[in-house]
């Protein structure tokens, strides 16, 4: 964040980010009207309107593709803030862009774990392939390459995020293919996420709190997320007094008052059936229902 503070000093216009003159051109009337209507919805969510600033900045990016001067003016006006206050917030957070972003942000996790597992190599490969460095955009305006910090998917390292959708277990080859497809204008599908990666502007609108109807797309969990659950099912392990079949019917009588369940673990009761195989879940052969007595 400290670098962000410094670069604020470089701006020529007090209160603005690095903005080109066109970023201060007024919005077209219809665009402005829609922005104001959306902003009203955002502001109404919060007890105090300043709380709407982060989503409103995402909203500005959903229209402009970055945080523009006019976007800052609008936020300031809507929330009764100064433009300097709005800029101060916008420069603090890495998801707010100070110059036009590509249609797709491709963020390679280069925090320690991913970096070591291959993230550094992936970043270098993409950087060379695309001819851009960190936070730079390809001349065709398609891709902004970034180094990102840990994105809470370390069990799928090395991780690449494309417009904040997960691409798990990446290699230099798969990541190169990903950017090539994006530049060719093809749809790409994240490992865990929507049925396709939406554009930066579309995703920014979701981040402003406007759902796009894609919540039901994609998987519930990836294989690494399910590993422990799968092993537990194979072994017949479960929480005390918890019905292993997950149907909601009590698996055993209540533990008598005063006696903790430690003294009568449910797994020794005969009524406690071995786990059943849920739909869409493959159990390793030979392990089903094993170890009930453990």
């Amino acid at each position: 964040m400290t670098e962000d503070l410094w670069s604020l000093h470089d701006t020529h216009e007090a209160g603005y980010l690095h903005v080109s003159t066109e970023s201060k051109e007024p919005y077209a009337a219809d665009v402005l009207e829609r922005l104001r209507a959306d902003a009203e919805v955002v502001i109404a969510r919060y007890p105090e309107k300043r709380s709407a600033l982060l989503p409103l900045l995402h909203l500005v990016q959903s229209v402009d593709g970055y945080v523009t001067g006019r976007g800052i003016d609008l936020c300031a006006e809507l929330l009764d803030l100064t433009t300097a206050e709005v800029s101060g917030v916008a420069t603090f957070y890495t998801q707010y862009k100070r110059h036009p972003n590509g249609d797709y942000t491709v963020g390679v996790c280069t925090n320690t774990l991913c970096a070591i597992m291959g993230g550094d190599r992936i970043f270098d490969t993409l950087s060379e392939h695309l001819g851009v460095g960190h936070d730079e955009t390809t001349p065709d305006g398609k891709i902004t390459l970034e180094r990102i910090e840990c994105n809470a998917a370390c069990d799928y390292a090395p991780v690449v995020m494309t417009n904040w959708e997960f691409f798990d277990n990446q290699t230099p080859e798969s990541a190169t293919r990903l950017v090539d497809e994006l530049r060719a204008g093809k749809d790409v599908v994240p490992t865990r996420g929507a049925a396709k990666v939406c554009t930066f502007k579309e995703v920014s609108r979701v981040l402003a709190g406007f759902n796009d109807g894609r919540a039901d797309e994609g998987v519930g969990a990836g294989p690494a997320s399910l590993l422990g659950l799968e092993i537990a099912k194979q072994q017949g392990w479960h929480a005390p007094s918890d019905d292993a079949s997950g149907t909601g019917a009590p698996a055993q009588p209540e533990v008598p008052a005063g006696q903790t369940s430690i003294d009568s673990p449910s797994k020794t009761t005969p009524t406690d059936a071995p786990p059943t195989k849920p739909a869409g879940h493959d159990t390793l052969p030979g392990l089903e229902g094993k170890d009930e007595s453990k």
Binding site: L113, S225, G246
Partner: protein, 444 residues
């Protein structure tokens, strides 16, 4: 003895459409809320207190106690804010939880809000996970339509609304007071404590900030009772938690187990260290917790045992590194992270992380000087306990612990680049010929 693994929060993750309300309802979903609404708020709070559950966001403060420390009701608003910022390097449990089963969190929020007298709760989600945001937004809509949220929840007279708020990329916003500033539309910088959020938090009103996993554990406690919860874990670290194994293990993944399981057991479940290699070092609770080595494999992973062994349970983010990894390289990268994420509010952290990064980079390139190790330790000493928030302290953890266990590698940094001693290819997953293909990347 309880079973080795106890899937509770993770239990539905493999169900078809696990994220839907209908799926959750088929598996006892929202029964705990119905039950809670028949109890007094005090009794609900009492049950959580009796369970002795300690916060799952890292610090391990008892959740029930935190709630009971909130300023007494004065007729004005009181807030519950769920910390879903999950950005601590290595931590990857809350995000899959909310992606696969957002309703267990929503139900937890509803019950917890009822217990503390909150009518408007917030979930502060890091902004870099758009699909999780979609799932949470939809889950709140579904819950509202079903009468679990809104005015007069399930006819009880209680009111609750939940706002799911997306952040915009800043690790420091996971610190609870920085999170509140961010939620108020400001730069995410920590606040002076006291006043604690329980006295003056969001909009200066009594507020409880709790981790996703803490709140998601509440429905189980209400449904099965405090004794059920305490039948798992250890005396002072009750219950279960999600343990996240990543790095150089054969099968990385999430393992939900009673607190007190050991790394040896977990490694076994993960298929051991990747083939042909051995364990070198690991973090018990994310990059902010001092590293451990092979000698700590049998430390019970509960709050007190890990602390007694010189680290912290943190978020149970077990990042595993084998013998191919340079500890200097790993620590240098974490130090870069802390420098990048330092909010700049206080001098020891803002300046300290900057200088520590310079030294770590020098050592990484084999250009360290004679007194760099002492200088690093001296800086850590000056930051620890003097920084305004725990981020500054955290920045010192990897450095001091790595010097403690691997001093010779820091000494080598005075003359030999890490890449010479530890060729990076050896640590990569795709260095071998069996390049692992991604399951993503399909074109339409």
């Amino acid at each position: 003895m309880t079973d080795t693994l106890t899937p509770i929060l993770t239990r539905l993750w493999d169900a078809p459409e696990s994220w839907k309300l209908s799926t959750y309802e088929q598996h006892e979903g929202y029964q705990a809320l119905r039950q809670a609404l028949t109890m007094t708020p005090e009794a609900v709070l009492g049950a959580v207190k009796d369970s002795s559950i300690r916060g799952r966001g890292g610090a391990g403060f008892p959740t029930g106690l935190k709630w009971s420390f909130m300023a007494p009701p004065d007729g004005g608003p009181r807030y519950l804010v769920v910390n879903a910022d999950e950005s601590e390097p290595g931590t990857c449990k809350d995000i899959p939880l909310m992606m696969a089963n957002p309703h267990v969190l929503i139900e937890g929020v509803a019950i917890s809000s009822y217990a503390i007298g909150c009518e408007k709760a917030f979930i502060y989600l890091r902004g870099e996970v758009v699909h999780v945001y979609r799932r949470l937004l939809q889950a709140v809509e579904e819950a509202r339509a079903a009468g679990y949220l809104g005015e007069n929840v399930l006819g009880s007279g209680a009111t609750l609304d939940i706002v799911v708020h997306a952040g915009a990329g800043a690790y420091i916003c996971g610190e609870e007071t920085a999170l509140l500033d961010s939620l108020e539309g400001r730069r995410g910088q920590p606040r002076l404590k006291p006043p604690f959020p329980g006295a003056a938090g969001l909009y200066a009103r009594p507020t409880s900030v709790n981790n996703v996993e803490s709140i998601a554990s509440v429905p189980g406690i209400i449904r099965n009772g405090a004794d059920w919860f305490k039948s798992m874990g250890t005396e002072k670290s009750t219950g279960f938690g999600i343990f996240s194994l990543s790095g150089h293990v054969a099968n990385p993944g999430q393992f939900e187990a009673p607190l007190g399981i050991t790394m040896r057991e977990l490694l076994d479940l993960a298929g051991g260290i990747r083939e042909g290699h051995r364990l070198k070092f690991w973090t018990p609770g994310g990059s902010s917790t001092p590293i451990f080595t092979e000698e700590h494999l049998d430390v019970p992973l509960d709050f007190d045992s890990v602390a007694a062994a010189g680290s912290m349970l943190g978020t149970r983010a077990l990042q595993v590194f084998d013998e191919t990894v340079s500890v200097v390289r790993a620590v240098a990268r974490w130090t870069e992270f802390y420098q990048h994420e330092s909010c700049g509010k206080c001098t020891p952290c803002r300046e300290g992380t900057y200088w520590m990064r310079q030294i770590m980079t020098r050592l990484e390139h084999g250009k360290g000087s004679q007194d760099d190790i002492d200088k690093l330790l001296d800086m850590c000493d000056n930051i620890l306990g003097r920084a305004f928030c725990a981020l500054g302290d955290a920045a010192t953890s990897p450095i001091t612990s790595a010097i403690k266990y691997f001093r010779e590698e820091f000494e080598a940094g005075m003359h030999t680049p890490v890449d010479v001693l530890f060729p990076p290819e050896k640590s990569m997953l795709f260095a071998a010929s069996d390049t692992k293909e991604s399951s993503g990347m399909v074109t339409a």
